[in-house]
């Protein structure tokens, strides 16, 4: 794929609506792309989409990225037709007010709405300083009565941000759902590059569900597949902002994928980390080490599954994740694909074990 094609792939994936628990539309796009690439796939009982490139007597190796994104779910329809909601995944209430949203309508067609916000003219000085709580917010779909609202949505209808995919500045991308459609896009990119190649691995590519509320999809996938090695492709929250001291910045945009040493749920395999770093150095692929212990990802369940798994996580440094406006640098997207490709094609189990 050319750079432009990769960007278009990411755009297509990011703009699909796939809140945690409702990943079907994302899975549809991914299955379509896999079909075009000429891969067979299975969908397991939770909804994970899995590609198996089998090779007997080779190490079982799992690559994963999650399809779901943060969003919200309708939990009350008021008499005057407004929708109350709960968050799906960790969302800072401060990024919600006044945003456009898109819900999955009763008949499957998208329903546009906005998250209402009391006009500043009506706010007390105290309200102007305090963030509203999600339980006090509402979605306005422009109807006046509950019955009218119910013709479009129901309790349990979920939705996500309605936000444009924009290329801006020097190679930056802004979109919703970059966490973790970026990982999905990288997997599709690498699948294209390894097609029909002889590989030293028994390889599984898993597009997982429900990461944002407890890493559920990856857990069952790993339990079923019993990999020996696992690479998780993720986005990591970054604070490379002015006034933030360097040691708290986590990582920086444009300097390559960030490799984790540990986060809140996983201590990553030392040998695997060293192997990845040495491959990157050898092949001149930019990479950085995550400088701050925060967050967690699918590796949290994967590395503890069955008899244990050697885990590696490569994350795209991403500003403002879990908001309608996540920002990444396209160079990191491209170089992470290069790194994953290099790890797979140059895999050496001995080097990892002896490192």
């Amino acid at each position: 794929m050319t750079g432009k094609e990769k960007i278009e792939l990411l755009r297509e994936l990011c703009l699909v609506c796939g809140p945690t628990g409702s990943e079907e539309k994302v899975a549809d796009v991914i299955r379509e792309k896999l079909g075009i690439l000429g891969y067979e796939y299975t969908t397991d009982r939770l909804g994970n989409v899995i590609v198996h490139i089998s090779r007997e007597d080779a190490p079982r190796f799992m690559v994963s990225a999650h399809m779901d994104e943060v969003g919200f779910i309708v939990n009350e329809i008021t008499e005057d037709g407004y929708l109350r909601f709960a968050a799906l995944g960790g969302i800072d209430p401060r990024v919600l007010s006044g945003k456009h949203v898109i819900l999955e309508g009763n008949d499957g067609t998208p329903v546009q709405g906005i998250i209402g916000s009391k006009a500043i003219h009506h706010q007390t000085p105290e309200e102007r300083k305090t963030a509203k709580k999600i339980k006090d917010m509402y979605i306005d779909i422009g109807v006046k009565k509950r019955e009218e609202a119910e013709s479009f949505v129901s309790l349990g209808t979920s939705g996500t941000f309605d936000s444009e995919f924009v290329l801006f500045g020097d190679g930056f991308i802004k979109s919703k759902a970059i966490d973790d459609r970026l990982g999905c896009a990288i997997m599709l990119d690498v699948l294209g590059r390894i097609k029909d190649k002889e590989l030293p691995l028994d390889l599984y590519f898993c597009f997982t569900v429900r990461e944002e509320i407890g890493l559920s999809g990856a857990r069952t996938a790993a339990q079923a597949l019993s990999p020996e090695y696992s690479v998780v492709l993720e986005s990591t929250a970054v604070a490379d902002l002015p006034d933030v001291p360097e040691n708290s910045r986590v990582s920086e945009l444009g300097k390559g994928g960030a490799i984790s040493l540990r986060d809140r749920s996983t201590i990553y395999d030392r040998g695997f980390v060293r192997f990845a770093l040495s491959i990157a150095e050898k092949d001149n692929i930019p990479v950085q080490i995550k400088r701050y212990v925060s967050g967690g990802n699918d590796a949290g369940h994967i590395h503890k599954s069955n008899a244990g798994v050697r885990a590696l996580a490569i994350s795209a440094p991403s500003r403002y994740i879990h908001s309608p406006a996540c920002v990444i640098n396209e160079a990191d997207y491209f170089s992470m694909g290069d790194l994953l490709y290099a790890i797979i094609t140059e895999f050496d189990a001995e080097e990892i074990k002896n490192a």
């Binding site: 800072d92 209430p93 007010s97 456009h100 009391k118 306005d140 604070a239 925060s294 967050g295 908001s323």
Partner: protein, 352 residues
């Protein structure tokens, strides 16, 4: 209801224009191409009010002022920071509660896309949760290096919300800049509908600087220059939502609003209400104890005093990027304006 698609398109086209307070003329050519054809002449005065005139052709006809402000809240750049970030200050009443993770456009040497930064939950400090930051503490991410950015942007460069529009399930529309350019569209539509039935010479003033007009905005000086016989002021009005009080708001979808208060002219308002009733235009009354929060008080106190009627287009979530209006109300406002500028009765009573 038959939705007037042309009006909807005009509302969205006008609302997309860049007109941050002080920069009302930024997209002046585009404005002219959208509405210029319906008027005989137009000019911009010293304070940036854009005045479109439509003559009735009668000798000694009264001057009817139709005022509706053109400016929109926004921000000005205050500093260019390392890493390509900008700090800003507000222009008009910007709600910092809606800014984080919003898309903006920085109108520098060329338009630049930007995002207002936010802190992901993963990196938040416990004592920070629940607090809103002051506008000066927020950072706009431009994706440029500081050195490049300094060539494109300076202190004072205006910043506006990126245009984005949605049609909601129930048919209402949501987006930025409806305050007040949706009114501009309705008023133009009304004058267009009036055709050659005008009761006087109509001065449509797209006034400047309403949003920052604590001591009076552009309308104050614009009305002084025009010196009209009487005036209609159209502005958006605070719409009812679940978190507002009924007696402080109007209903979106409830028709055009007419304001009763000490500043609006009693007789002119009464005659306008009668007119609206007789033409079957859907309306609602809005009562306030003091001023109107619009240009009416300024215009009312110009020169020897100018009788004003104050009409409103109900709008939810004012001053956000997701302001909501109902196209039935927009249509009602257009009809009201049409009848008002055609009313010989009103002209007879209020011509000087």
């Amino acid at each position: 209801m038959v939705i007037n698609m042309e009006l909807k398109e005009l509302i969205i086209s006008l609302s997309s224009l860049m007109s941050v307070t002080g920069y009302e003329s930024h997209d002046s050519d585009r404005l002219e191409s959208l509405i210029g054809e319906y008027f005989d002449e137009n000019h911009t005065d010293k304070l940036g009010n854009r005045i479109f005139v439509k003559k009735c052709g009668k000798e000694g006809a009264p001057r009817i002022l139709v005022d509706t402000h053109m400016d929109e809240i926004g921000m000005f750049v205050t500093e260019i920071k390392d890493g390509g970030f900008l700090t800003v200050t507000n222009v008009g009443g910007v709600d910092t509660g809606i800014l984080q993770a919003s898309d903006v456009v920085i109108y520098g040497e060329k338009p630049i896309f930007g995002v207002v930064g936010s802190t992901p939950p993963h990196l938040q400090k416990p004592d920070d949760a629940g607090k809103l930051r002051e506008i000066g503490e927020l950072l706009i991410d431009t994706g440029y290096k500081k050195e490049e950015l300094e060539k494109l942007v300076r202190v004072g460069t205006p910043v506006g919300f990126a245009p984005k529009y949605s049609t909601l399930a129930g048919g209402q529309i949501a987006g930025k800049g409806f305050d007040n350019k949706s009114c501009v569209a309705c008023v133009v539509e009304g004058i267009k509908r009036a055709g050659n039935r005008l009761a006087g010479d109509v001065y449509l003033m797209l006034s400047s600087r309403e949003e920052t007009g604590r001591a009076g905005g552009g309308a104050l000086t614009g009305a002084y220059n025009i010196d009209p016989d009487y005036a209609l002021v159209a502005d958006v009005n605070l719409g009812r939502t679940p978190d507002t009080k009924k007696n402080e708001t109007v209903e979106v979808g409830g028709g055009v609003s007419l304001t009763l208060c000490p500043v609006t002219d009693k007789k002119l308002t009464k005659m306008t209400v009668e007119l609206v009733k007789s033409k079957g235009i859907k309306y609602q009354l809005d009562v306030t104890g003091g001023g109107t929060g619009t240009n009416t008080p300024d215009i009312n106190l110009t020169r020897a005093g100018i009788p004003c009627v104050d009409v409103g287009l109900p709008l939810k979530c004012m001053h956000t990027c997701a302001e909501v209006i109902d196209l039935a109300d927009s249509d009602a406002l257009a009809s009201l304006v049409c009848e008002f500028v055609c009313s010989e009765e009103i002209a007879e009573v209020f011509a000087r």
